[in-house]
Amino acid sequence: MAVPVSLLGLIPIGYILAESYALGWEGIQEALFRPRVADLLGNTLALVATCVLGCILLGIASAWLVERTDLPGRRVWAAVLVAPLAVPAFVNSYAWASLWPQFEGLLAATTITVLSYYPFVYLPVAAALRGLDPALEETGAALGLGPAARFVRVVLPQLRVAVLGGALLVGLHILAEFGALQMIGYETFTTVILVQFQSTFNGSAATMLAGVLIVCSLLFVTFEVLARGGARYSRVGAGAARPTVPVRLGMTRWLSVAALCGLLTLAVGVPAYAVARWWSDASGVDAELLAALFSTLQFGLIGAAVTTLAALPVAWLAVRRRNLASTALEQCTYLTSSLPGVVVALALVTLTVRWADSLYQTTALVAACYVMLFLPRSLVNLRAGLAQAGPEMDDAARALGASELRRLVRVTLPLIAPGIAGGAAFVFLAVCTELTATLLLAPTGTTTLATQFWGHSDALDYAAAAPYAAVMIAISAPLAYLMLEQSRRIRRR
C-alpha cells in the first residue's frame, strides 16, 4: 500500500524526463542555453544565497536570545517569534508592495523572504538549544575556551542538523515561491514558468525550466545530506542533563529587546497594518468571500485527510519495519515534496489531459497533487508519534488476547492520535495557503482564498484583496501556534 503512494510522487520527475527525451538534445539546448535562462539562474541562486544566509543568522540569533539568555519576557518572545508563519509570504509581499511600490529588486526579495521564512530555522534551532547538555560546554570552559569560542566550537556544531534542515526548507520554499516574488517583479524560474504557462500552456519552454528547478531541488537536498555528515549528535544515555545557566545580557539587554521588537514589527506589523488599512477601503464580507472560504476549507479538509491516510502506511513501514526498501519509499516522498507546486501541477495537467480525462479538473486531482506536495509534513509527525507508541504496547495487548482490529482501535490509534492530528494540521495550513497548483488544477469555477487574493492583488485592487488576506491569516494563526507546541515537545533523540 505504501508503494503506490511513493511511486505517485515520482510522476512529475518521470514526466519531465519523458518530455526532455521527446524534445531531444537540440531542443533542450535551444530552450535552456540562452542568456535569459542564465539571468534567471543568477537571480534565483542569488536570492537563495542571501535569504538562506539571512534566515540562518536571524534564526540562530533569535533562538539563542530566547533560549540561552536572561532576556525579559522569554516565554512571550518564544511564541511571538513564530508569528510570521501565520502570514503567507505572498501576503507579506502584498503588504510591502502596496505600501511602497518602488521597493523592488534583490533587496526587496531578500527582505520579504527572510521575514517570512526565518521561523523555519528558528524553530528547530530553538528546540535543539533546549536539548543541549551544558556539560559539554563546561568541559570546553575547563579546557580554556572563552565564551565566544565555546559557542563556535561546541554549540554551533551541535546545531548543525537543525540549521541545515531549516536552511534546506528555506531554500526549497524559495525555489517554489511564486506570489511573493511576482508581486515585486523579481524574476525567478518559478515566476517565469507561470508566465510561460500563461502564454503556451504546457509548452516545451515551461517544461524545460521546470526540469532545471528539479535539478536545483535535488542538488539542495543532496547538499544538505552531505553537509549533515555521519557524525554522532546524541549521547549514549540521556544521563542527568542539568538546565543551562542563562547568559547575562547586561547592557545589551534592552538593545536585544529593541532588535526583536523591530524584527517583529517588520515581519508581522507591516502586513497587519497593510491589511487593516486596505480593508477599511473595502466593501467587507460578501458572498464571493464566503464561497472562497468554503472551497478553501473543503480543500483543506480533504487534503489533510487524504494525505494523512496516504502517509500512514509509509510511516508504519518506516518505523516498524525499518529496512532498505522502506527507507527508499520514504525518500521518494521527500523528493516530490521538494519540487515546486507548479511543476507537479503542470505534470498532472498534461498527463490527465492526455490519458486520464475523467480526472481532469476534478477535486480528486487537486487532492492527489496536495498529497504529492505535502506528504512529508504529515509523515514527519506520524513517524514521531509511531516511534513513541512502541511495539511493546501492541505486544502486551496481543498477549492479553486482543484481535488485530481491536489492538489497532484501542491501543495504536489513541497512541498516535497526537501525531495524526499534528500532521493533519500542518497539511491543512499548507493547503489553505497554496496558490500555484490550485490555479492550474482546480475545477472550473472554483475560487479559493489564495486564488481570489491573487487575482485582486495582481490587478492592483488592494482593497478587494485585503479581506482575503485577513481570513488567511486568521486561519493560519492557530496552526502556527500548533507548530510551536509541537516543537516544544521535541526532546533530544
Binding site: R34, P35, R36, D39, P101, Q102, Q182, M183, G185, E187, V192, V195, Q196, F197, Q198, S199, T200, F201, N202, G203, A205, A291, F294, S295, Q298, L301, I302, A304, A305, V306, T350, V353, R354, D357, Y360, Q361, T362, T363, L413, P414, L415, A417, P418, I420, A421, A424, P443, T444, G445, T446, G455, D458, A459, L460
Partner: protein
Amino acid sequence: MRQRRLLTVAGTGFAMIMLAACGSAAPGTAEDNPNALVVYNAQHESMTKIWAEAFTKETGVQVVLRNGKDFELANQIKAEGDRSPADVFLTENSPAMAVVENAGMFADIDSATLAQVPKKYSTNTGKWVGIAARSTVFVYNTERLDAGELPESIMDLAKPEWQGRWGAAPGGADFQAIVSAMLELEGEEKTAAWLQAMKVNYKNYSGNNTVLQGVNSGEIEGGIIYHYYWYRDQAKTKENSNNAKLLFFSGKDPGGFLSVSGGGVLETAKHADEAQQFLKFITGPTGQQALADSAEFEYTVGSKVAANPALQPLSELDPPRVDPSKLNGPKVIELMTNAGLI
C-alpha cells in the same frame, strides 16, 4: 487517558467531515452544476461576470466561468481536444482566437449574431465574433514629458534615445497582441529587430496596471498599454493616473492598433444552443449597453451601441487596418522568447 479518548473522538469526527466534504462538490462550480454553460474566460473577470449575471437574469441559464489568460486557455482548449468541457471561449485579444480557429475547434456562429457586429471586428470565416475592442496607447508622465517630446510612432521606442525611459508588460497577452499587429504590418525582420532593441531599452513590469503605476510615479517616462486601464483608474481613486495622460498614435501606425476581444462557440460544446444564445446576448443591445454602462471602459462593437461617453470616440481614432484572424500568436511568442523578453 481521557485526553486520548477525546482525541480519538475528534479524529473520528474529522474523518466524517472529510467524507461528507469529499462527497459534495463546491457550489457554483462545473462539478456541482452539470447543466451550466461552461465559459473559458480570458476577458477581465469583472466584465464577464456582468454579462453572465445579466444573461442568467434574462434566460435563467446558469453560467460557470473558468478564468485564465488568453493563450493559456487557448492552448488548454487545444490540448483538451475533443474532450474539452468548454462551451464558449472569450478572449481579450484576437491572436488567441486564431489559435483555436486554426485548430478547427470552433463551430459556426449564428448569422444573426454575426450581423450585429461590423465585419471588421470579426473573422471573415464566421467562426468567431468581436465582443469588445481596446486601443493601444502610449501613457506618459505629464511632468517628465512634454507634448513635443512624445514619440511619433511606436517604432521610435526602439531608438537608442529611448533607453531606460519606457516600460511594458511583455509577459501578458495584451502586449503580445500588440506585437502580433506589428508583425502583420511591418514584417518579421523589422519586428524581430524592434524586439531586440526593446530588450535593451525597456523596463519590465508584470502587468498593465503596474506599468501605469510606474509611469504615474515617474519611475519611467512612458509605457505601452491599452487605453481602458487609465480610464478605469480615473473612475476610481485616480491614485495611479493623476500624473499621466494618454497618447493615441495616429496615421495608421502599428502603435494605434485596435485589438478586438473575441467570442466563439466550441465545436464540441455540450450546451451549443445556450452558447450561441450567450454570444448573441453579449453582442446584442443589452450586452453592449451593459459594457458601455459599466466601469470597464472597453469600446463597444455591436448593435451600434455607443461606447462609454468618457472615452475618446472610436470615430476620432485612426487605427491601422489589420485582419484579426491573421494575427500569429505562436510566432510572436517565439520571437519574444528569442529576444529574451519572456
